[in-house]
């Protein structure tokens, strides 16, 4: 078995250990009600088991990381798969740091699924080791990307604690205007998480089914100054086809023979229509999944989760959330901005070039500096600041993923696309 195969196996082992740890956390919280033993002791015991399982999972993931590094010769953070995997690992590290500080093992009940989701998302991207284009060949790349990701991971754990704080404190009993608004937005967050699950489920389902469709499209080639026919491959049934395109082959999917409509003309990126199609499928399967869940539990998801957090002190959650961000902020500043500037200076001779990724790293930083300043003010602790951590996490994810998908720049890793 070659090192790279071993590395991939370690990745899978880590993934399943995380899933197992998550299950144990479930047992820790749910089991309390079913058994006759002391509830506190039960939660403490299973919380501990879950935590150590997660730690072993992290060791497996570190094994993946190190062996892949040795095999490829560069720090494995140079494409979407490697980066997202690293991010999930960093989230686990951040979670463990906060566990050591606060000893609140239930944080894992929410941190783990986030790490698992991001890992599953990572595996959507091509996994082979890719050669580096010249501008990425620098050890500053490794330092900058890993530090930035670690900072983001602390922000993510801040979001996890913030979300837990909201799930714990939003009053489902009340029906006044502000409570209703909070309930709706919180449930919307839950829904968005289900959509993300829907995305992953649909990608893997169609991949398992070997689905394929092809379209041809006329494109203006900037280099040759000519119209050119390009083919666009779909891995999901086309709800939306590329603008001004012809179907070459469309596999039938439950009677779906052709696309329902074409993408608008302004979406002229080569993969824009495919991305839109993926988004539509994600929302579609997310809606089905969410509908099923609601039909089974007959309550908003947030309301169902709330009792699980009944034992946690809201102020502790608020403080953990703030602390995670306070730990992450200097790390992010160093990794996401200062090291990024050093690398840009070394590679391109300019420390700042207003590249979309740079701009969004700055936006992330500005956002969290607003958060930190607002925390100084009265009335901005607790719920308000928890909502800010949720928005902050959206900003972070947009910087990491959204910018690559929507606004490409120098960081659109693989180079030629």
């Amino acid at each position: 078995m070659s090192l790279i195969d071993f590395s991939s196996d370690a990745f899978i082992v880590a993934f399943f250990l995380y899933c197992l740890a998550f299950t144990f956390y479930g047992v820790a919280v749910m089991g309390r009600r079913f058994r006759k033993r002391e509830p506190e002791a039960h939660t403490a015991k299973w919380g501990k088991i879950a935590f150590y399982t997660a730690v072993i999972g992290l060791i497996a993931q570190l094994t993946y990381f190190v062996t892949r590094w040795i095999w490829s010769g560069h720090v494995p953070v140079s494409n979407m798969y490697e980066f997202m995997t690293f991010l999930s690992m960093a989230i686990m590290i951040a979670f463990i740091v906060l566990y050591i500080l606060y000893r609140k093992s239930l944080l894992g009940l929410f941190a783990l699924p986030l790490a698992i989701l991001i890992m599953a998302y990572a595996a959507v991207f091509p996994q082979e080791v890719q050669p580096l284009i010249p501008s990425l060949k620098s050890y500053w790349l490794g330092i900058h990307v890993t530090m930035a990701a670690l900072g983001d991971a602390f922000f993510a754990v801040g979001f996890v604690a913030g979300l837990m704080h909201l799930l714990r404190t939003v009053n489902f009993g009340s029906s006044d205007k502000s409570s209703r608004r909070e309930q709706r937005w919180l449930e919307f967050c839950m829904f968005m998480i289900v959509v993300l699950i829907g995305f992953i489920v649909s990608v893997y389902s169609f991949r398992a089914g070997g689905y394929h469709a092809e379209f041809s499209q006329m494109k203006w080639n900037e280099e040759t100054q000519q119209e050119q026919v390009v083919t666009v491959d779909y891995d999901m049934p086309p709800i939306v086809a590329p603008y001004d395109s012809q179907a070459i082959s469309v596999q039938s999917f439950i009677g779906m023979q052709d696309s329902f409509f074409e993408a608008p003309s302004w979406m002229h990126g080569i993969n824009a229509a495919r991305k839109l199609n993926t988004v539509l499928w994600s929302v579609f399967s997310g809606l089905i999944l969410y509908g099923l869940l609601r039909a089974i539990i007959r309550r908003p998801l947030a309301k169902m989760i709330q009792p699980a957090l009944g034992r946690m002190d809201p102020d502790d959650l608020d403080e953990i959330s703030y602390r995670a961000i306070a730990i992450g902020f200097p790390i992010f500043t160093l990794g996401g901005l200062i090291f990024a500037m050093i690398w840009a200076e070394v590679a391109w001779g300019r420390f700042w070039g207003w590249d979309p990724k740079e701009i969004w790293a700055l936006i992330t930083w500005l956002f969290y500096s607003v958060y930190l300043h607002l925390r100084l003010s009265r009335g901005w602790q607790g719920k308000h600041s928890s909502w800010l951590t949720v928005i902050g996490f959206i900003v972070v994810m947009f910087t990491l993923v959204g910018v690559n998908l929507i606004i490409a720049g120098l960081h659109s890793y693989a180079g030629t696309d």
Binding site: E319, G349, V370, L374, S377, A414, T416
Partner: protein, 563 residues
């Protein structure tokens, strides 16, 4: 003076006898809550230790009003939010600076449609250099300076003049507080607990039955150190706009020809450019079979010269070699702050010079040969009995809308030369002659027909190039990004100071514990700027050693309503 103002001033005198400035929230001496703060039952507002900031002045003048505006954290937050939104807008479409040669007034419309054009018209295609964005940065800079000064000085004074005995309500209204019976004489009890607190790294001062323990006060300066770093950084960035401190241009270098770097005495020569591509098997699967070429490595052998004499335009400069360097993507040439980065390359061969022979069009009689440098041709050439004077030079020849010869661009796409030939058997004014060094242009613009027309229907001469030895070619052109940035060291210093401030402010916490024992009853209050959880844990473990079992959670002050 209005009644209200009078009232305010009277109220600033604390019952302990200390006269506080207007705006003081907590008495500077004993910590007793004053004014509005006294009426409330909430947890004390401990920001800046309750001292009056500089901006809280009576009768503010104009300067005070400006100062007050920028000293507000609220204003700072709005400024940051506006900058954030501005930055977001600028990331929607690529900025003009991303492109080397575009006309933004058409480019955005062509590439991104009507929305793109509106984007351009709004000036968002150059967001980060627009006046409002720079103004926002300047205002943030002002806010950083003024906010910091407004708070750091009073805070410094307050922290260095702390008194040990504190007012009872100062202690009971802290976020961490405790009241319990110790059935012990005050001074003795305080003496017993002092070494235990010291063991946790606190500096302890006592005054009878009262105690003040404090550690890591330096953490309070973290934000201000960060702000100083940011100011240095912002100033360095703004200074780059001053002339002479900053240059950033892209230049193409053909092989084997030193070229001057504008506004400097440096010349750079491309002594050979090489590029290696990934072989088909090294390519990742997604690129295979798509006919894509992915460069693995490209480098320029560069020689840098400094001009020693005759540096003025039109003279032959005397150059001295000062540096040789292989420029690769992550390895720029760097000489005294002048940097040359590998930026791009072009593998189309270009002509550096040709050595054509002037021949008689009919008889083929050779009159002589001369060397024509395409970029820097000479004024006149003596060729056999003839004198050739250069009248016009085109780098990219073409016909304009009126059908007249003109230069279409500054790149060397279609070089062309118009000579005036004078000599024996020619009219006194001489004859005009067009020469296109590239064969393809010769045919495209019909050189012979053109010259026949110029010669009054008769083609007298030809300029012929015998073999490839008479043509000096550059196989490739390398594009380098030349940068001079003298403000850079300050950018890094600013970033370093900022980072130091962040570490001070976020990874250390200023913790203080006050306590007093009155008639066998202990009252404790504690404050930190971060990590209340850790503070409570610490206090609970200290009290445990004093045989006081106190649950960490019970130290939390529930909005002032103590049990």
């Amino acid at each position: 003076m209005s009644e209200e103002l009078k009232g305010l001033i009277v109220n600033t005198k604390c019952e302990c006898g200390h006269q506080n400035p207007v705006g003081t929230v907590l008495c500077e001496a004993c910590g007793k809550p004053l004014a509005d703060e006294a009426a409330s039952q909430d947890i004390l507002e401990m920001r800046y230790d309750g001292v009056a900031r500089r901006s809280q002045k009576e009768n503010p003048g104009v300067i005070d009003l400006v100062w007050n505006f920028f000293s507000s954290v609220k204003v700072a937050i709005y400024l940051i939010i506006m900058t954030t939104i501005g930055s977001m807008l600028g990331s929607i479409y690529p900025q003009e600076s991303t492109f080397l040669n575009i006309d933004p007034s058409v480019y955005y419309k062509e590439e991104y449609g009507q929305l793109g054009h509106i984007y351009y018209l709004l000036g968002l295609s150059h967001t980060y250099t627009s006046w409002w964005f720079v103004l926002l940065l300047v205002m943030i800079g002002a806010s950083l300076v003024i906010c910091s000064l407004d708070r750091v000085l009073p805070l410094y004074k307050a922290l260095s003049r702390q008194r040990v005995p504190k007012h009872m309500s100062f202690l009971t209204r802290q976020r961490v507080t405790l009241q319990t019976d110790v059935n012990n004489e005050g001074t003795a009890w305080v003496d017993r607990i002092t070494p235990l607190i010291r063991k946790k790294g606190y500096r302890v001062r006592t005054d009878g039955g009262t105690l003040l323990a404090e550690k890591q006060r330096f953490s309070r300066w973290g934000p201000y150190v960060l702000h100083i770093g940011l100011i240095v950084f912002l100033l360095a960035v703004l200074a780059r706009g001053l002339p002479g401190l900053h240059m950033d241009t892209h230049m193409g270098f053909q092989e084997g020809e030193p070229k001057q770097i504008p506004d400097t005495s440096y010349y750079l020569e491309n002594d050979g450019f090489t590029v290696q591509f990934y072989s088909e098997e090294d390519l990742p699967d997604e690129f295979k079979g798509k006919g894509k070429v992915l460069p693995e490595k490209f480098e320029t052998q560069a020689i840098l010269y400094e001009c020693e004499a005759n540096c003025d335009l039109g003279q032959e400069p005397e150059l001295k070699e000062v540096m040789r360097h292989q420029i690769e993507v992550n390895h720029p040439l760097n000489y005294n702050g002048l940097k040359a980065y590998q930026f791009d390359y072009d593998l189309t061969p270009t002509i550096i010079s040709v050595s054509p022979t002037l021949v008689h069009a009919d008889s083929g009689e050779e009159f002589g040969q001369f060397t024509l440098n395409i970029r820097n041709p000479e004024r006149t050439y003596e060729v056999g009995p003839y004198t050739m004077t250069l009248k016009e030079k085109y780098s990219d020849f073409g016909l304009n809308a009126e059908g007249k010869p003109s230069n279409m661009s500054s790149s060397q796409n279609a070089p062309a030369f118009l000579f005036l030939i004078q000599g024996p058997d020619l009219p006194e004014d001489g004859v005009q002659y067009f020469y296109f060094p590239k064969q393809i242009d010769k045919e495209r613009f019909q050189q012979d027909a053109l010259n026949k027309q110029l010669g009054g229907g008769e083609l007298r001469f030809n300029l012929e190039v015998g073999s490839m030895e008479d043509v000096e070619l550059s196989q490739s052109t390398t594009y380098l990004n030349i940068r001079i940035d003298k403000a850079m060291p300050f950018v890094w210093v600013g970033a370093g100071i900022g980072m130091l401030g962040l570490v001070l402010g976020f990874y250390f916490q200023h913790r203080r514990i006050w306590l007093r024992v009155d008639d066998g009853k202990l009252t404790l209050g504690a404050h930190t700027n971060k990590n209340w959880f850790g503070l409570r844990k610490e206090i609970s473990s200290i009290l445990k050693q004093m045989d006081l079992e106190v649950d960490e959670k019970s130290l939390v002050n529930n909005g002032g309503s103590q049990e």
